[in-house]
Amino acid sequence: MDSFWGSFVQILSWPCVGFLVGGTLIGLVLGVIPGLGGITILSILLPLTYTVDFQYSIVLMTAILAVTITSDTIPTILIGVPPTASASATILDGHAMALKGEAARALGASYTSSIIGGVLGAMCLWLSIPILRPIVLAFGPPEIFVVALWGLSMLGALSSGNMLKGLAAGLLGILLGTIGRAPTSGIYRYSFDIPYLIDGLKIVTVSLGLFAIPEVIKMAVVKGSIPGGEIRGNLLRGQLQGMADVFRHWGLLIRATMLGVWIGIVPGVGSATADWFAYAHAVQSAKDKSQFGKGDVRGVIAPEASNNSCKGGDFIPTLAFGVPGSASMSLILGAFMMAGIHPGPNMLTTDIGITYKIIWSLALANVVGGGVCLLATSQIAKLLYLPKHYLIAVITTFLILAVYIGTKDIGDVLVMIIFGVLGFAMKQYGWARPPLIVGFVLSEITEWNFVISVTLMGISWLLRPMVVGMIVLFVLNQVWTSFKERQLARDEALIRLAPKPEERDEDED
């Protein structure tokens, strides 16, 4: 316990606090730029680990990672361009709220849930220290497959009312996810001898094309400013309303946070998946689903809480075993390696001070980052009134840079444009895009883990306790959801059939 509070005091003392605040500000500023996600920023700053003491560089890197997914909601909500794949879920309702003139409310809700989600994620990391290793080992390929399957079952919830179109889009996403090398045989599928397709399509390219390009096209076609009218009410009042919304939906906030932590624990699944899981859960668990996709604040609270809490979960396998929970964790591991520190059981014993420092950095960076964003919300919302022709030029440039900067492959730009056209067509003709992206993200995880489970265990993996438990929970969840929907439909039918008050008076007469 002394080490826990001792780390807190160290973080707040100079120069550690300077690295914390500096990392937070760097993460906030660069998180807004499309394509510059946590991993790109960290790889640029990794050489710092050669010259800066490890205890400061780890604080800096953790702070950056913690807040890039907080500030990425600014372009997502205001202009409908998600800078990273993990902001795609927020666009559906966040941008819709901005179009209705509720941008400040959306931003207020987003930052508040990010702060709480991030702090709770750090707390979960702290609380799980005694059981870190058993938790990670409990998630084998069969468990990961069931989690992915659960995610696929949510395609219906993301279909915006048209189940058939949603499922078709989801299946198309799954098919697109199979492009490239098959996990078992090494055979190239749907690559048509094109070297670019050997490794499959990339999530960043697909999500930016599907969600960002249609917004840019819309901006070019529709005249006027983005909200198309006056902002409702006072900006500050809107922001406070957003913050109050978060506390009003505290149950959803807690559930989305826990979902993010659990997804983060599973190596290789990532915060993009956590976002969509949380969003789908928000839709499934809501009594009134009619406003989702049209500006429902719950569609902002859930994904934002989960993608921040996911960072705490990502650190669990990283610290416990030296297994990166996500791509950005592999860079954190690099910093460990440069410092000669070996993640593993010692991170829970002799090097526990470093673990506590990471926990505090996560929590404090989220508070500082979210706080800065909240203070600036009313000013940030004014960006909505910039002339669109300025925005289009800047956004298009950043989008192209975003997909090109990592791989220097022109194929990525072409794929983004193709998916942009597809996304625009889907939007025009009423096809939901979230099922496609969820199917795409989960396709590889589902197939890979299913094949590994069957190869190594035959069908005995179906009898594993955690698999059985998760399947039972899944079935119960589906039964409960169907029951509630039937009850709601019956109540609505009863209301429609009940005689109107005027008719009753005439009868009595």
Binding site: I39, L42, S43, L46, P47, Y50, V136, L137, A138, G140, P141, R181, P183, T184, S185, G186, P195, Y196, I198, D199, P267, G268, P317, F321, G322, V323, P324, A327, S330, L331, L333, G334, M337, M338, G340, H342, P343, G344, P345, N346, G406, T407, K408, D409, W448, V451, I452, T455, L456, M457
Partner: protein, 345 residues
């Protein structure tokens, strides 16, 4: 007057042809893998070492967070002292190294662009043609050795305490294979030779494969003897059964080698080597200067200290050994192409 003009023209043409011929001979590539081995018939006078006139680009075929990426970044810090210009690291991922090699192939042959990649990509493109160009036209400057691969099992869940236990088993051995791994071939050949039934599940990377073994879902896995595998071995999570090396690796003196267990010594050839290469057409003096600069960078005190701290070795492989290892791997791959296609590509 016209006769004198014609004479001067003839002399001029002869001189030009001579210079052209000598220049061609200087840049002629005899086909040897190592640049220094190309000698002209008769010695030329020593020339001043080539120095680049602009920034160098050190391409790396893997993304950030890998040993190649760290090695490239470390070298970029030291290269200016030996080659006189700043070096930047550019990662080109995808296609199992094919994208990086393709980019290298199309780069200008001015000596300012070179690539750090794995020998597996070289061999894969030798055995299976995937691009319109020939991999043999890429000039390999030098090779750096990587730690040998080690076969590991779980301390908690596995009943195999050593190599002998594994060879005597009657159960099906489940192998968790992390990523593309050339030593899968000799491992499978050994199991088949011993009549052991096996199943191989391919994981995305070695760490995911480790977790699977530590969780009891598979019996054995393999990885290079770097900190990635040494950490769980030291932590008591994994037990090493043997290493694919003819001599015991200094950082792992307790792990039996191929020689200790009577396994074929040529299996040590299947370990990773990290290659440095330049595009086709780079003149020989430039290749020689680059090679010398890279060798000095790798042997620099700063690189050596970094290597000790990160456990990423920087031992240069001698030319003869490199060619022999490549010959063994290529022959092995061609003979067992189906196994390779299934578990390596």
């Amino acid at each position: 007057m016209h006769k004198k003009t014609g004479l001067f023209q003839c002399i001029g043409i002869i001189l030009c042809l001579s210079i052209f011929t000598v220049g061609s001979l200087i840049s002629y590539d005899s086909g040897s893998l190592y640049a220094q081995e190309n000698v002209l018939p008769g010695k030329l006078p020593p020339v001043k070492p080539w120095r680049p006139n602009g920034q160098l680009t050190l391409m790396c075929y893997t993304g950030p967070g890998t040993a190649y990426d760290y090695l490239a970044r470390q070298m970029a810090q030291v290269i200016p002292d030996y080659l006189g210009k700043r070096a930047i690291v550019q990662t080109v991922v995808g296609g199992s190294g094919g994208n990086a090699l393709d980019t290298l192939y199309r780069a200008k042959p001015d000596g300012k662009t070179f690539l750090l990649y794995a020998v597996g990509s070289q061999i894969a493109l030798t055995v299976e043609k995937r691009y319109p160009w020939d991999i043999k036209n890429i000039n390999v400057l030098l090779a750096v050795d990587a730690p040998p691969y080690v076969v590991m099992t779980s301390v908690k869940h596995s009943k195999y305490k050593n190599f002998k236990d594994l060879l005597e088993t009657k159960d099906v051995v489940r192998i968790a294979l992390g990523g593309a791994n050339m030593t899968i071939l000799p491992l499978i050949l050994q199991l088949e030779k011993s009549g052991i039934k096996y199943k191989v599940a391919r994981f995305k990377d070695s760490q995911a494969a480790f977790l699977s073994v530590m969780g009891g879902d598979a019996e054995i896995t393999m990885s290079a003897l770097s900190s990635i595998s040494l950490d769980p071995i030291r932590a008591g999570d994994l037990r090493a059964l043997w290493q694919f090396s003819n001599k015991r690796y200094p950082d792992a003196p307790d792990i039996p080698s191929l020689a200790d267990l009577g396994m074929p010594s040529e299996w040590a050839s299947y370990n990773i080597m990290r290659l440095f290469a330049v595009p086709p057409g780079v003149p020989m003096p430039i290749q020689n200067s680059l090679t010398e600069g890279l060798i000095k960078t790798l042997q620099d005190k700063r690189t050596v200290e970094w290597s000790k701290k990160t456990e990423i070795p920087v031992t240069i492989v001698k030319r003869k050994e490199l060619e022999e290892r490549l010959r063994v791997i290529e022959a092995g791959f061609k003979q067992n192409i189906e196994i390779v296609r299934r578990y390596f590509f």
